[in-house]
Symmetry: D5
Subunit: 192 residues, 10 copies
């Protein structure tokens, strides 16, 4: 697939999706067909959006000598991704916390990090780990933690609505044990 700018999609991908669409259109009753001309392009853009690589290089960090080990947390960040098993969206919220060592991250970078990493096709267990890894690489914290609660639309098929959430949590360094774990999970349990 060729790299693309925002409104471009690879015409070959569009053609492949159009094949799928035309097979589906054989069975589907007529009411759904009125506006399908641009459906292949739209679905291709969905896939393309998910495949654009993240852009972490312009994210500078700030030096801040930590006198004490305090937790910084950003709760309940809205994000979405797609599951690698079905290519269907999942939607959720992500809690991020870290105990800085020598560097801190600009505030807006934390939700951006979550959303950038989440672009792609993921199992939630792997996504949780990937956000942890990226955070660690950026600020080398004394401890860090990521918590995700998400609703996977692929479950609609077999489990049906309403779909139960999935909860995954990764805790590292000073956040792995005792009071710092409790402090982080305490924010995760607040009503979101």
């Amino acid at each position: 697939m060729r790299p693309t700018s925002y409104h471009e999609v690879d015409p070959e991908l569009v053609a492949q999706v159009a094949d799928v669409v035309s097979t589906v259109a054989d069975v589907q009753p007529p009411q759904g067909l009125q506006h399908w001309e641009r459906t292949p392009e739209r679905f291709a853009r969905y896939l393309t959006h998910l495949c654009r690589p993240g852009d972490y290089d312009r994210w500078t960090t700030f030096v801040r000598e930590a006198e004490a080990r305090h937790l910084i947390a950003v709760p309940a960040i809205h994000f979405w991704s797609a599951c690698s098993h079905h290519m269907l969206p999942f939607i959720g919220q992500c809690w991020v916390g870290y105990i800085p060592d020598e560097k801190i991250l600009g505030l807006s970078k934390i939700p951006l990090l979550v959303r950038e990493v989440a672009r792609g096709f993921w199992m939630q267990e792997d996504l949780t780990k990937a956000i942890c890894d990226r955070l660690k690489k950026l600020v080398k914290p004394a401890g860090h933690a990521v918590h995700i609660r998400a609703m996977h639309t692929c479950q609609l098929l077999d489990v049906g609505p309403p779909v139960p959430e999935m909860i995954t949590t990764e805790l590292h360094g000073l956040c792995m044990h005792g009071p710092a774990k409790e402090e982080f999970l305490g924010w995760c349990r607040l009503e979101s």
Copy 2:
């Protein structure tokens, strides 16, 4: 597309989806690729599920001479469907009400009706109308109404999370005006 039983999917459809998947797999970083072998089959089953026709014939109605015109309502039925513009899921709740004339429907048939009609690819405006039409055909009510609130995952692409709901309402016959409209909408406004 050949008709299929529950676990069968048309192999041609699977092959077409596999083309799409292999194009996507070119760009996507490796972490997402570990379990993709069955992704084409899974996505094809998603499309196939949505295309299975509804089965309304075994739904009998009961005769009940209406002495007075009272509203029967089933609120906040969980359902899902897929949008005809993007082939992506939307998830929501549906409120159904009717004022019987000579026939009433078995209670469980009302949520089943919503879910059966919702299978397919729809604009929400059209789905609302289609549920109304099917309900009318089954019980020929003195009045009937359908209200839908749904979250469309296709909006994640351009609008981003959290996605605002869409609200559509159709009111017919005695439910179209005055107190019966107010009574029905009153139940729709209750916390769901």
Copy 3:
């Protein structure tokens, strides 16, 4: 079926249920069988309880000359019944209101009335009407209204959990129109 006192059940009914139980016990894996000896008796008592006739005669009313037409309401009465289609329980809340003419009912009689009438096998539409009729017979009100919201366990089979509620409402006399209808429905919409 012979009339029974509280702890008695018709032995013939127990025997008939035992036949059903023994058929079921053929298929069900062993873990469920440990305490089944008294299951026929227990299920028979369930049916018997539902068949005991109500006892409305000891319910006296009080004379109270109504100077003005004010609504008396008892909201959100917990009750249960069984559906006449499946013999399975349904559970709900019932709102009762009336505008007295010359008689009022002792307060505790209103929930008792709902629970007594609800004993039996009912469609919810008919139960709503039956409570209305009984209330009318007792106090001959200037207006009266009954509202029921219930969850029918028979829906678990085809619709699955969580089961949507069913809402039925009967409005009569002065409660049928305008502000008195709005006043009654206002209490029904309060959080229960």
Copy 4:
């Protein structure tokens, strides 16, 4: 009882239920009798549905080398079952958590597992254990936990509405003690 497909029920079971129904119909006042012709078949289908064996074989697991011991949880899964004492439904929510060792389960399999195991006639204490056992067999986790809160309709008879929930919890392996127990129970205490 002969094995059956979805809409089939064993005619002998239907006949046995019909005996029960005809005994009940002797006492019940006429309003409930209008639609009872198919009640034996419907109740038999209820029993039959509960007796269908689960189908766990098509559930594949995924290998995922666990670098660290993190809890995966699926909260508040809606399910229903029937109690082995009364053959009456109980309805509830189930929380499942596990700390993977070498295998993880596809997300949708967790609610499916709960619902499949719950089909049958159970005491809640035994059902909780059975879900634990099945989960252990599938993924051989480092720790696992199941929590159930359910409302048993059989209690309506002696305790009356509203029926208090029953709470059961099983904790095994790493989930049995200290912080992992607290982490799992923390998700169980979130508003469902």
Copy 5:
């Protein structure tokens, strides 16, 4: 019964209650008997408190020429009373509203009025009317309204816990119809 000051109770009443208590003490198992010596006096003081007459004479009103007809309301006043059928307490909240004509009442007088009138043995229907009457006598309003929601402990006996509330409303003068009725009932429907 002789008039009494706050801590005095009529010794004859105490003696009569002591007779009742001694009969009850015959049956009640011993654990409850340890602190019963003063129970007759305590129950007598309960009755005596309910019989003390209200003291409305020191309540002055203020003259305020009404330029326009605006509603003044005091919502959700906590009060208690006892039911005239069982002499057992009922507990509730009372909403009072009036549209002044030439006089207004000092704010604290409105809850005091409710509590003073509620002292006594009442049917809730009559209490609602009595508060209306007293309010009318004090400020001769252009309109006035009283709404009561109360929980009667006497219902515990036959209906059992949780006890449904009873709702009574009286609307007079300009508050009887249309928008002023809606405005008053609007405040009554706010979460209390």
Copy 6:
């Protein structure tokens, strides 16, 4: 006091209450007197109901070899009782938990146990203990716990409405310390 069946009350007790009522009727303004003829009988029935002994003998337990020590809990059971100081009702909710050793109790027996023991005249501290004792006697658990939150109407007299709740808790055996205490109290803290 002679033993009585459900609708019978000891005529002597009625006569004693009638003495009390006639003293009260001297002072109370006329509005409350219209329906007092049967008040002595009604109040006597209230006392009689509270004095009926519990019936624990028909409660069988089930043998269930405990492989592990898991808590079974029934939260927020609605009950009522009367205080031994004033003979006035108190109303509340009771949480019961136990860790079985060799026996478990049928689910509906737990709320029945609470309600049966609560019949009588109690200080809440003693009632909490009495429920614990009865539970211990029935199932000889490895640990057990009872938590009560109740509103005592006798407080209306001196403290006034709204009345603060009283909270009492008894923890025994394995429930007395550490994580099992935390687990039980965690369910008690859930919104009731």
Copy 7:
């Protein structure tokens, strides 16, 4: 009383309050006396703050030709005042709405207006009217409305805690009737 700047208070007023304080200090047990030296000054500053005149002259309005009659509302403005009967604080929220004719007010001016007018000693009925009058003078609206809900601490003395709120509403011009009244009151009924 001499005009004062922010931290100044009239020494004569301080002396007068000191007289009051010394009388009170005669009775109050010693624990409360440790920090009373500056109490007269502090209470005098409380009174002085309430007496500072508002400053409405620097508030400019903006011309905006109204094409249609739309309501502008600012809900739930926190404010406080003191009651003219007891000189004690009352605290509440104020809802302001108006339908502009030719002028609109800068947004921040609406809460400032409420707070400035509220400074002083008021009966709530008069304060509501005074805010209306000031608003009218500033923007000459086609309609305007003010709604106040406040808790008066003077009620603690006779009514005791928790103190019921007082609700007052003034509606003028186009806001006085029908849909505009409903629209404004609708915002007032939203949870604050």
Copy 8:
């Protein structure tokens, strides 16, 4: 200041307040002056009420041999007091808990104790301690704890509305550490 009965206030105190009022009346615009004649008397009664000594002598305790150490708690008692810095009211809720040793207190005495001690002029830190001390003196508990959350109207002057609460807690004896501290604070954290 002379001792006073309920409706009496020291005329000298009234005269001193009248001086204050007349100084204030110089500046305050006329609308507030209409009903000020009795303001000095009313404010004097406010101060007098706060100075009346508590009456703890008639509070008897009950002997109850504690077999085990269980916490008794009364949550969220509404009370008010006045701050010793400004003589202005503060309003709040108080949580009281104790682990009895040999004596328990009658239930209604706990809220009465809080309200009696709170009468006076206090810093909240000292009031919390004073309630602790009084409780200790009365029941000599094995542990006791008092928690207060209150809103101080004096803060309106400098901090403005809405005023943040102040939280103070005293924990003694067995309540000072570990699980008993957690148990008590757990009830304090429940929604009040």
Copy 9:
């Protein structure tokens, strides 16, 4: 100001902001200065973002012959803008509704429309109207309505936190009156 792409800002604007920043930096204590080098560029990008023109041309509409007049609504769209008086952000939610005539808009276009129009410097009254106008131009509806609730940070300066919201509503065509107005405002009143 020169047109800019996403990450570009006009260097002249940056220089002008740098002048402002350097004046501010004279007074501000040193702690705030560590990371100010890029502040002029960041603030300039804030202004530039707000000035980028909307892009409505690629928004196609769909033809859908309206058989009946039903309301389509999208509630509680999160958006932000900046006020034209202070150039400071305001943040809010926007409700959009319309009754289609011949055209409908793709669902995601409704939130995009709100966000695009909101980019710029606005008074909320004008923004509400501008969204209405743009919507009308796109779909020529039979009726349309826009409702905005927003929090303006410029109010922090004079009113202080927490800042009251501002509410503006425009109703046109069939949405201007009666039931359609009520239906739309009903969705606006739902908890957001």
Copy 10:
């Protein structure tokens, strides 16, 4: 920048802002320009307000010999500040707690302290620390803690609405560990 009194702003700063405004006005469509004449002055006043130094000298503390180590807390103080990266406002709530040693602070000083320190341009991490430092300097506590949850408007630019909060916490002395940390964080987790 010259020091200024409340309504004064440095004319040079106004001129510098005017340059920025005129550049912006080049691009912005006309609707926003009607009331911009005073925008430079208003934005300058925003900056000036943030630069005014705090005034901590008039804040006296009170001596109070601490017998025991109890936490004093003031939860959920509303405050605002501006971020040092964008000069744009952030809005939040601050929780302050301390365990006094020999001195306590007057209650209203705690919110004032937060608001005074927050004036300026801050990173939230530094602001949290600065409040801690100032509190320590004033009362030299045995332990102290500050918790901030704030919404930064600068995030609107890149993250978009709704903006996730940022959470920072500093714990010192006795508040740093174990139960005192838990007690403080417990109040922070209460619904604000």
